[in-house]
Subunit: 241 residues, 2 copies
């Protein structure tokens, strides 16, 4: 009998924003895997501090590369593909030996997450189940204290890694906006919002639902770079009786 | 001492997809409010069946109108505004009498939800806290068994209530798509997807994470109308090592 690999959506950062289902699976886990940057604790692992059962085996999957090589370099893809293959082999062996494995995922596993790369490789080999989670963007708009979308509002989710002109065009053409993967693209993102006429309405949310959560009008941000866990929000203004 | 009104995101439908925080607040609740159509049990109320403490007071907020009057009719707005004022008065009185009140919200309260109309009216009067939830769309893409967004994919969330030409234009201009509020707009939605060249790639998810969940390629759907809790998904195909 094969075990199951669970892609466990942990939600945005606060442990009690995990679903009851994820919490139950985690507290019964014998094998817990998670991604992290080399030398870091890992954000997903951090969220579940104190919740992993005694005696469970932990498997840290350390990215061989993050931003040291540009995405466009073929070596980047080759290194990551080999890494995901290795991780897949390990999880597959455990499942084939009859063990369930929980893979910790920040936010929702199918929404811009690393687990998807394992999922696509594993799903024809062993049973895989995905537990959805509260996204980081939900925590970000909740933190601003204002609803993100009303009535027929169009919501566009953009990565700040896109070209500036494309960002600006899409920002001007949507009611509500969420921008993620900001980090070193912060300057470009601000210029795009300005071209689109949305800068004054934008909010920066750092560490949503985590210790250190901070909500600032973008126009009042003085820093030139922002943490990785930053999300920019522009609220929709749609129909409201 | 004023009580607090909690907008409780219940998630997409399965009770164990509620957050640990929402579950804890619900199990301690003395006053539980929820929206429903007249004569229905109410989807939010249904999700928490068996979880409301004995002795808690329930307050059903019944929409005076749903689809009987067109949205464009001024009477629609007037009726709903009066209804939201009444609900606000009731929740405010409870909070001002020192009672906490839990308002049950399907999905995430700030994402196209009715609670937002109470939130905006209450927030300057009494303490209001919002607990984010897993959205229906997360449950829908999870149900399809394929990730929604990869790498730099652009995700657009559209309401099927928009004009057909606008739907088609936006569908052609996004990597990943989520379409909600489908119901009687199903035919128009399908035509828009066809004009945009996205029809063959689209999936219909009915009752995501609820009993009766059903996932079908849109091209294989023979019905002419679909249930209210239906979401159409087109997956992004972005960068993947």
């Amino acid at each position: 009998m094969s075990g199951t690999v669970y892609g466990l959506g942990l939600g945005p950062g606060a442990a009690d924003l995990m679903s009851v289902r994820a919490d139950r699976l985690l507290r019964a886990a014998r094998h817990v895997a998670f991604f992290r940057k080399t030398g870091r604790k890992g954000q997903a692992r951090q969220i579940v501090e104190g919740l992993i059962p005694d005696g469970a085996t932990e498997f840290a999957m350390e990215y061989p590369v993050t931003t040291e090589i540009p995405l466009s370099d073929p070596r980047y893809n080759a290194l990551l593909a080999a890494f995901y293959e290795d991780c897949t082999d390990h999880l597959r062996s455990l499942a084939q030996a009859g063990e369930d494995v929980v893979v910790l995922c920040e936010g929702d596993p199918f929404f811009y997450g690393s687990f998807m790369h394992l999922y696509m490789r594993l799903r024809d080999l062993v049973p895989v189940e995905v537990v959805p989670g509260i996204t980081g963007m939900s925590a970000a708009w909740t933190a601003t204290g204002a609803p993100i979308t009303w009535g027929d509002d169009v919501l566009t989710v953009l990565m700040a890694t896109l070209p500036e002109a494309e960002l600006a065009r899409r920002m001007a053409d949507s009611d509500a906006l969420v921008v993620m993967k900001i980090g070193r693209n912060f300057g470009r993102l601000c210029r795009a919002l300005q071209s689109a006429g949305r800068f004054e309405a934008a909010w920066l949310v750092e560490y949503a639902a985590m210790p250190g959560q901070k909500v600032t009008r973008l126009a009042e941000v003085t820093a030139e770079t922002v943490p990785y866990f930053s999300i920019v929000i522009v609220h929709g203004q749609g129909r409201r009786p």
